[in-house]
Subunit: 284 residues, 2 copies
């Protein structure tokens, strides 16, 4: 495996940019290839079989592009499709559920853990299972917050509407205090301030993206895959600069607009691609 | 053409059930086949090429099922894909834009017309074009209201959050009074009360579904396609009874839940199907 290949990241759409940002901040010497499946977004209301199919197609597309590691930024795809993805590609695969769960267990320090996520992620109980698998027996309270996605994409993160929605969705985390609250959907870090204001400053918010970036760093180091070209090349790294390549499956213009809203800058290199309809993919 | 075949209806998801309800109320002697493309919903943030592709696949699926007429319940698909659909199938095709526009022109009576719809429908200016094509020169004010969809699906139609969102989206219709406001997305009739409360009772709301049902009735009569089996058979018609057949491309359980919320009853016959990946469809 060539350690100087980029790291692949896919998401159902634009939300995974928060994971890209976390990876970029932690690993400024790495290059990234990002795929947003904007033709089929959102995944959070879709079934297991459909999310698996989309996730495998995305993963194979990125593998064909040439990557040394695949990060599944989408919580729903991480919750539902990791086994299918690992079967479909040859590169190491990192989802966001395990890193987020581990960070939550550490930070909650024996207190209950809250998880907010899409409908599909909540129904899968992926976070509760991952936390239990770590030997923790703390209670996990899961809640779907579907409107948060539209609020983030609309640019309404700091609005009275967002505050009212948060009051409704998060009421049980005020009744049953939790030690940590996992932001279990890539869009939710955009609403971090409103969420924190609603549940109170004593509840630590876990951004799965940041937790995943830490685990990716460790994985690269342990497997000798850290980028080793001269550092100088990347000293001036900026988010979305032309060392990173962005693909979407549809509506590139809208993606660029929301990227600007989320990251403060739009991708320098952004390309619309078709990733379905290949026999090799469909007959999987 | 067999006049006793069912009428096909497709939508990007569950929203088209408001059009189904309007058709069912107006044409209790007809049977319906409904396809909700829940694997690829929503269409309103997607590109022309992608919406065309999805719409053509849906239309061919319904044609293969045996229908006498196709109603494109989805405003976005009606706005972007009618020419592609008409090229792809042999049955008559009715979209919701023209009927809604005609009803708006009649009711606005020379005053300005407002249109609220998805991002894609607004960007296409399909309603403005249709209104102009009818020889009307009234000003058309278009506004995208993406959050309304999530609010309707969440069951938050009658909530303070919905009122706050409506205040924001609809503010220009209070500053610039309109004679009629077109509910240009199938989800919006679910929020009719909040919308009406916000813009004031003097603004007439146009439900494209109801307008389309009237036009479908006329079309059936003019083309001799009205169902002519003994009326008695259908005297006890109820919404979602077993004379109508519902297909979804994903997540049937969720569809049934939202159908119950929208119509008061879930489909008796609901089936999940795959409509993509057939060569005949893809090579179009």
């Amino acid at each position: 495996m060539d350690r100087n290949l980029p790291i692949g990241i896919f998401d159902s759409g634009v939300g995974g940019l928060t994971v890209y940002r976390a990876l970029h901040e932690r690993l400024p010497n790495e290059r990234f290839v990002y795929l947003g499946d904007t033709a089929r977004v959102p995944y959070g209301t879709k079934s297991l079989a459909t999310v698996e199919r989309y996730a495998v197609e995305n993963s194979r597309f990125l593998q064909a592009h040439g990557i040394k590691l695949l990060v599944v930024a989408c919580n729903t795809a991480s919750a539902l499709a990791l086994p299918a993805i690992r079967k479909a590609v040859k590169v190491p695969v990192m989802g966001v559920i395990e890193p987020g769960s581990r960070a939550a267990v550490e930070i909650a320090d024996g207190k209950k853990i809250g998880v907010i996520a899409t409908e599909a992620t909540v129904q899968s109980h992926a976070y509760a299972h991952a936390i239990a698998a770590m030997g923790s027996n703390v209670e996990v309270i899961e809640r779907a917050c579907p409107l948060f996605v539209s609020l983030a994409e609309e640019g309404w993160a700091d609005s009275d509407v967002a505050r009212a929605v948060a009051q409704d969705y998060l009421s049980e985390f005020k009744q049953t205090p939790v030690g940590a609250l996992v932001l279990g959907c890539t869009h939710y870090p955009i609403l971090r301030d409103v969420i924190s204001e609603t549940v109170g400053a004593n509840v630590k918010l876990i951004d799965s993206g940041a937790a995943t970036a830490r685990d990716v760093e460790t994985l690269l180091e342990n497997s000798g895959l850290t980028h080793d070209e001269p550092l100088g090349l990347y000293q001036e790294r900026r988010l979305c600069d032309d060392l990173d390549h962005f693909y979407v499956t549809d509506a590139a213009e809208r993606f660029a607009k929301v990227a600007e809203r989320f990251l403060g800058s739009a991708p320098s290199i952004l390309e619309a691609v078709e990733i379905w309809g290949h026999d090799e993919l469909r007959t999987h």
